[in-house]
């Protein structure tokens, strides 16, 4: 606020009320009091001073205030305070919807299962299941976060100002935050370099979002998982050796897909604020 404060004359007049103070001055002093702590303190001091002065004269403001207070007190005691917020609602719901939780749990347990199979079966083949599954797991999570079938509030979500790329990215981030640690444990125990699974994983996520803006996130996820199963998983399991796509040589291609996906997502960011992206 500005350095100016209400004068003692105005404050005293305000406390006494009545004709001592003009209506515009009342407005001004009230507006000032709302924002100025110093003047509020001076006001309460003035009230107290006048109350003691008036106590000599007879019935006073203090007595009136006491009466009102004693009338209010039982009512205030009966009012139930607002229950404490649950952690879930306040913080977490800004990052994921309740419907995403079971999906994330499922995806995380599939990863752990794949990891266990890898560890048990370590000698027989050189194909790592974790490596095979890593790229498509986040796709499922992303689909669950922006899907007509899985998110009951999808239409409401599409209509709000926060809808759009911003919210999609928030939810995608929360999917990755859950999955990347699980996958890195898996990658570390099976001896795969981080880039080998992280890049395909991110590339597939960005491709889902890019394609999702055009045909809907759900359909994009189904399409990409099908492609992945047909082109990478089936040949790998048939020949039981890691395909070129997951060798370290293929990394530049994955990087390219990632960059392309991010580019398309940014260019078409308006697509996520309409119903089409929920298909």
């Amino acid at each position: 606020m500005s350095g100016e404060h209400a004068s003692m004359r105005i404050i005293d007049g305000y406390v006494r009320g009545g004709a001592d103070i003009a209506a515009d001055e009342v407005w001004a002093v009230e507006a000032h009091l709302e924002e100025c702590r110093v003047c509020r303190d001076r006001l309460s001091a003035a009230v107290r001073a006048q109350a003691t002065a008036a106590a000599v004269r007879g019935p006073d403001v203090a007595a009136l205030v006491d009466t009102v207070w004693s009338g209010l007190e039982p009512q205030l005691a009966a009012t139930v305070p607002m229950p404490r917020r649950r952690f879930w609602s306040s913080r977490l719901s800004k990052w994921l919807t309740p419907t995403m939780v079971p999906w994330l749990a499922m995806v995380a347990s599939v990863t752990l299962l794949a990891l266990m199979l890898d560890l048990v079966d370590a000698d027989s083949g050189e194909v790592s299941l974790v490596l095979l599954l890593a790229p498509v797991l986040p796709v499922l999570g992303v689909a669950a976060s922006w899907s007509r079938g899985l998110d009951p509030a999808y239409e409401l979500t599409a209509s709000v100002p926060r809808a759009g790329l911003h919210l999609v990215l928030r939810r995608t981030t929360s999917v990755l935050v859950v999955l990347v640690p699980v996958l890195s444990v898996g990658g570390w125990t099976t001896g795969v370099t981080a880039w080998q699974w992280l890049l395909p994983c991110l590339a597939f996520t960005s491709a889902t979002l890019a394609l999702g803006g055009v045909i809907g996130v759900n359909r994009a996820a189904v399409a990409l998982v099908t492609v992945w199963a047909g082109v990478i998983v089936a040949p790998t399991l048939a020949t039981s050796r890691t395909t070129f796509a997951l060798q370290t040589d293929g990394l530049s291609v994955w990087g390219l897909i990632l960059a392309l996906g991010i580019g398309v997502v940014i260019a078409r960011k308006g697509a996520y604020s309409v119903l089409g992206a929920h298909r």
Binding site: A153, E155, R162, S273, V274
Partner: protein, 269 residues
């Protein structure tokens, strides 16, 4: 509660109509035009959107809520043209929307859900608790505010839907079939709320109950096969019908008289 008046509150409105559509067409699926060349201007007040099933009411409301992009024609909301690639964030902050299928999260309490929606609608963080309380009180759910949504009856869920629509104090309020599942007493209360809101808001209520329109609306928009059939006062709608038309009340007779005109029905209903 006293609130400081901001510049935005006292700025003159730069538009004549809150909702203005000219030659509006909205495509659904590949071929079907659910809204087919609509000219409509709506200002402050409660507008009842009437029409047979499949008339395109929901599509129109979705287009007005900016979740469907117009295929052709112009649509201006609060003076801002809608369409193209934009996200319309500033505009959406001033729209309240209750979809026909109101989906919600069962685990949330009423308060949590309305708070969540307030957050999604970018209500300033400091204002959220008060705005939520006000919205919940207006729909008469203050005593159930801390119950889980799954414990509520259908009518109460509907009222939560109305609460989330009004939590951001919208200038345009779009309600798609809000009276479904409300019992008669609740419907009366809801009509009062509509009239209250209609004082300073452009409210568009889609309904298939003609008596809702008679009781709460200042204006009727009759819509069939994607086109505007009639716009005027409820009295005007009643005047269109004569004793020879089907219906139990003057409004119903007017409704059937206007729909019999140039528009052909697809089926026997």
């Amino acid at each position: 509660m006293m609130r400081a008046v901001s510049v935005a509150d006292i700025a003159p409105t730069p538009y004549a109509w809150q909702i203005r559509a000219a030659g509006l067409k909205v495509r659904v699926g590949r071929k079907r035009m659910a809204v087919d060349g609509l000219d409509l201007s709506l200002g402050t007040g409660v507008h009842g959107l009437l029409g047979p099933n499949g008339a395109g009411k929901t599509t129109l409301i979705r287009a007005l809520a900016t979740v469907l992009r117009p295929t052709e024609g112009t649509l201006e909301l609060l003076g801002e043209p809608v369409g193209g690639r934009g996200e319309h964030r500033a505009l959406r902050r001033r729209i309240g929307y209750l979809p026909q299928e109101f989906g919600y999260y069962k685990r949330f309490t009423v308060r949590e859900f309305v708070e969540y929606m307030a957050w999604l609608k970018e209500v300033p963080k400091a204002d959220i608790p008060a705005a939520v309380q006000r919205a919940v009180e207006r729909v008469g759910l203050a005593d159930r505010a801390d119950e889980r949504m799954k414990a509520l009856s259908g009518g109460m869920v509907r009222r939560v839907g109305i609460a989330q629509a009004i939590v951001n104090d919208p200038t345009i309020l779009l309600l798609d079939e809000p009276t479904v599942g409300l019992d008669p007493a609740q419907r009366l209360r809801f009509r009062e709320l509509l009239q209250e809101l209609g004082m300073d808001t452009c409210v568009l209520v889609s309904t298939h109950l003609v008596e809702d329109v008679a009781a709460a609306c200042t204006d009727v928009v009759l819509f069939a096969q994607g086109r505007l059939v009639f716009q005027g006062t409820p009295e005007g709608l009643a005047a269109a019908g004569g004793p020879e038309h089907v219906g139990d009340s003057p409004l119903e007779r007017g409704y059937s008289a206007l729909l019999q005109g140039p528009v052909k029905h697809g089926g026997s209903w």
